[in-house]
Amino acid sequence: MDSVIAIEGLGIAFEQGGVRTEVLRGLDFKIAPGEFVAIVGPSGVGKSTLLRVLIGLATPSSGTVRLNPDVGADRAMALVFQDSRLLPWRRILSNVCFGLEKTHLSRAERRERAVSALAGVGLRDVAARFPHQLSGGQRQRVALARALAVRPAILLMDEPFSALDVQTRESLQDELIRVQRASGQTVLFVTHDIDEAVYLADRVVALGGRPGEVKISLKIDVPHPRRRDDLTLRDLAARIRTVLFAEVIVREDWVI
């Protein structure tokens, strides 16, 4: 099995008021089992839109997304949003159960899975609380547990830590790496933070241009645990910046 998912010639376009806007064009890439891929790029390049297409919230205008049928997962994908989007009327454990209610698991099995997913992000003791009683960082961990509980072939994450303060963000990044390495979960992680991308991922794909295309795809061959000030990571980040920054400067519609 060489890849979990193969995206070929994927194009995304919107039509509004008779004007067609191409967001992404000719996107090709594969993700290997257990691989952690980060997608970076300036805002508006279509990173989030790509995730929305993969999860089924939007439809592509061209190309194919092929999921490897050999992957023994309960659900193809699960998405962690930028804001936690927990359901405020459900207690934490019930929120983690949410995606499992679409499966054929019994109530007891769902509960058991949710409890272990919650324990996996270190939040077993808040199971009976409501979302508003948790901090932003805790809520985002619950959102991660909710996505992991359905055991997706690919975990999609849409700038999941960008709304958090620096300390919380860094601790959640480390938590994510720990969980991902322990479970071998395949991850597709979207962020505009290049340092975050090289710190977390096995491979970074940088999107740029209008419509967005793959500008560079870099393997990050630095073993975990990584240091945030690792020189190799800095170099890799600098390379990505150069590619993306050059891109911004030549853009014709650049307005300050």
Binding site: L87, P88, F98
Partner: protein, 250 residues
Amino acid sequence: MRGWMPYLLAAVGLSLFLGVWELVPRLGLLPPTLLPAPSQLPAAFLREAKSGIWGESVLFSLWHYAIGLAVGTGCGIVLGVATGMYRPFDWTLAWIVRVLRPIPGLAWVPFAILWFGIDQTAAVFIIAIGCFWIVFFAAQGAIRGVDRDLIEVAEAFGFGSGPEKLIKVLFPAALPGILIGIRTALGQAWMAVVASELFGVSGLGQRMQQASSLLATDIVVVYMLTMAALYGLVDTAFVFLQSRLLAWKA
């Protein structure tokens, strides 16, 4: 200081109200037949209660109230949610709603009598109409106001069909708004109870009508206060239920 102050001031306010009310007929500013003094009321209440009329009227009215409220609220929620979820359905009903909405419950009395006779069903019908519109618009607005982001969560986890979205996200998210509508309807329905019983169906309204035609104003006031007490009871119970249902709110 804050602890007992609200209760003290509430007691003062109520005493002032009762005091002025007592003084007006006593000082001869108004004859007792036009405004019975509060001190006359216990005796009037006991007479009504002993004869059994009070209990019977209350039971009849409560019955009309409960069924009318349930029917009106139920229909209001179903149609409000459906028009809130499906635009084409809303467009279809838009002008039917505009035609029927401004017609007051009382205006339906002739038809209620023709369709159901002088019967409990007629009273229930009038009360249900009184509640329906309030709940209908509350439910429709609440469903439309549900955060799109939360609906996306349902879709992202595979709950793509209308009924799934309704059960998983739309209804629970809209519940606070729907409950506000129902609470408004709780009061509206008591007003409708009186109207619905004016034409001969047994209950508080009918008894008030009889008493006022005999100028037994003390009895009329007894039933006014009875209705206030029943409303107070129902509303308090509802607020309690509401706080339990919405315990998740910050």
